[in-house]
């Protein structure tokens, strides 16, 4: 290396190798904490995004929460209390246009019995023709008869169900307990952004649903599946203008995957920031330790600094020499921290999320160089004051020190 000040710094670090390594360990821990926590949060967000993307082409319209009364409340009007009415559905149809598909959805929770095993699940009531518009039947056929039903993949696995099995709906104490025959099992959907989470649910025809639970033409939600994903904002505006005529008291709530995603990712992002801040605290501790080591280095070399200054070394050159030392400690800590982050981050993500398929994506892996950069900057900042102190010493006093 050509720069003699860098050589002096390297030799000083080498002379106090153990002390330097111990100080750098703080930086290693800080870098690993920031990188691993950041990667964990990002991997969580990426996984949620992936799971929600199955309903990316769907707009969900539901009755506005503020205007929804308690179920069965006689004081609320049917139109605004429990869901989307037929009139509102027609308006949605008009606003959505003919190219986009409409799926009105009934849903509730129910108890059931399978053989002698009781259980509880969501029941969706759908027009059989709408089912294939957005659901995939992996085994069996679509609903044809009034008592036919489909079940989700997790539901089928949990209860070891096969095509032709029967489910008895309702509480064991109910007088009338209708029986449904399973005709098909749906493909897994994960956590869908269209609010129709079928994996652990029973799907029945809309006719059976209204016969059983009433509330005909009052839907829990209406899904609009658009042909072109880019038209979502226009369709939403059209529906909003048609139904929410009074902007102060909107009648329906309109949402899509992006607004849902932004809600969830913003929550996850807050959690990530919080855990990153915890990682940051460890770097603060590391900064104190680097500061301490740098101050020790300056105090041990006062006479040497006096020699340097008395024979014509500029203050800036003395400052540079001590900042190099901080940079060397930073590179050491950040380098080892980077490798540690890769190993520990991978293990943490694998253990906590169960998959590492997002780990090497740029959004996730970038936390390693970011953590390393923060570690290095923290080291340099910690070295600023000691370097300044060294360069501003009085050479006469410095030479006199023993």
């Amino acid at each position: 290396m050509k720069d003699i000040f860098f050589n002096l710094s390297v030799r000083s670090v080498r002379l106090n190798f153990m002390r330097s390594i111990l100080a750098s360990i703080g930086i290693v821990i800080g870098v690993v904490a920031i990188s691993s926590m950041g990667m964990l949060g990002t991997n969580m967000q990426l996984q949620v995004k992936d799971q929600l993307s199955s309903g990316a082409d769907t707009i969900v319209i539901s009755a506005d929460a503020i205007r929804m009364g308690p179920t069965g409340s006689s004081s609320s009007s049917a139109s605004s209390a429990t869901g989307i009415t037929k009139t509102q559905l027609n308006k949605i149809k008009l606003a959505a246009g003919t190219t986009n598909k409409l799926v009105p959805v009934y849903s509730t929770n129910t108890q059931f019995t399978l053989a002698a095993t009781p259980g509880r699940s969501t029941v969706y009531g759908l027009n059989p023709d709408d089912i294939t518009k957005f659901l995939t039947i992996s085994n069996g056929t679509n609903i044809a008869g009034i008592n036919d039903a489909l079940v989700g993949s997790t539901f089928a696995t949990n209860f070891n169900l096969k095509i032709g099995n029967r489910i008895r709906i309702g509480k064991e104490t109910d007088a009338s307990r209708p029986v449904l025959r399973i005709v098909g099992i749906l493909a897994p959907r994960g956590m869908s952004s269209d609010n129709v989470n079928t994996d652990n649910a029973i799907i029945v025809s809309d006719d059976w649903y209204t016969n059983q639970y009433g509330g005909k033409d009052i839907y829990r939600q209406v899904n609009v599946i658009v042909k072109d994903i880019n038209t979502i904002p226009d369709v939403e505006t059209a529906i909003d203008e048609k139904l929410n005529t009074d902007k102060k008291t909107p009648v329906v709530r309109i949402s899509d995957a992006s607004s849902r995603l932004s809600g969830i990712t913003s929550s996850l992002s807050s959690i990530t920031t919080f855990i990153l801040a915890i990682g940051g605290i460890s770097l603060l501790v590391a900064a104190t330790s680097i500061f301490n080591v740098m101050m020790m280095s300056v105090n041990e070399r006062i006479q040497e600094i006096g020699i340097l200054l008395s024979i014509g070394t500029e203050k800036g050159e003395v400052r540079r020499m001590f900042l190099y030392e901080a940079v060397i400690l930073g590179i050491l800590g950040a380098g080892i921290g980077g490798i540690g982050s890769l190993i520990i981050g991978y293990s943490v993500v694998s253990y906590m999320i169960g998959t590492t398929k997002y780990f090497f994506l740029p959004a996730s892996i970038m936390y390693i160089p970011m953590g390393m950069a923060i570690g290095l900057v923290v080291c340099i900042l910690s070295g600023l004051y000691p370097a300044w102190k060294a360069s501003n010493m009085d050479p006469i006093d410095a030479l006199r020190s023993e």
């Binding site: 050509k2 003699i4 008395s310 014509g312």
Partner: protein, 225 residues
């Protein structure tokens, strides 16, 4: 034409403001030192020798009066200019050698050249200077702790001379050496004086002071003789 001295103390005082009261280390000193003089500064402890050396070495500036070195008033130039004068005009030789412990003998001598030219020495000046004080290549690679006192002082002399300064300031250069080695070092300094250097030496030892053309004796911050 007036002959401008290399160094001029014009009514220079140095006062230290201590908790116990003001302490006058140099008291209205007026003194000229010409180019190529060999001057010895003597005096008891506390007489102001070190303060005078600090002024001559431009490590400090007078409280009052004017100190000119190479025609420049050291109190009126910037701190960076003073640093550059220390590097280029003055060669400092200390009693305790004050070599940089992390650098080899060669690097210690090369160091002032790096300060001046901002690059490693490729001219061979550092090697030549070490050779002149009796160091071969193998010895030049040693760190200061691996050298004897006499060897360290030779390296210090080589370091002080490498930037070809006009003035050599020697603060008790033989104080930490045995008598024989001390005289060897003095022979080197006499040689440098005969080559045209201005040598200023602070010493307690009258035998060493005898090498000088002029002896200045300080007492209580004033020139006694």
């Amino acid at each position: 034409m007036i002959d401008t001295p290399l160094i001029r103390f014009a009514d220079v005082s140095k006062v230290y403001h201590l908790e116990s009261g003001d302490f006058t280390a140099l008291d209205h000193i007026s003194l000229d030192i010409q180019d190529n003089e060999f001057v010895a500064i003597m005096g008891p402890s506390g007489s102001g020798k070190s303060t005078m050396m600090n002024q001559l070495g431009i490590l400090d500036v007078p409280t009052s009066g004017e100190l000119f070195i190479s025609g420049r008033d050291v109190a009126k130039i910037t701190a960076l200019e003073r640093t550059h004068m220390r590097r280029d005009t003055i060669g400092y030789i200390f009693q305790n050698f004050y070599l940089i412990p992390l650098l080899s003998a060669y690097e210690n001598v090369e160091y002032p050249l790096i300060l001046k030219y901002k690059k490693r020495d490729e001219s061979g000046k550092a090697t030549a200077m070490l050779k002149a004080v009796g160091f071969d290549e193998a010895m030049s690679a040693h760190r200061p702790t691996q050298l004897s006192g006499g060897q360290q002082q030779r390296v210090a002399i080589a370091r002080a001379l490498v930037n070809d300064p006009k003035i050599l300031l020697c603060d008790e250069p033989t104080g930490n050496l045995d008598r024989k080695t001390g005289f060897q070092i003095m022979d080197i300094l006499c040689g440098l004086h005969s080559e045209g250097k201005t040598v200023i030496i602070v010493t307690h030892d009258p035998k060493i002071a005898e090498y000088a053309d002029r002896i200045i004796t300080l007492e209580d911050g004033r020139i006694a003789a």
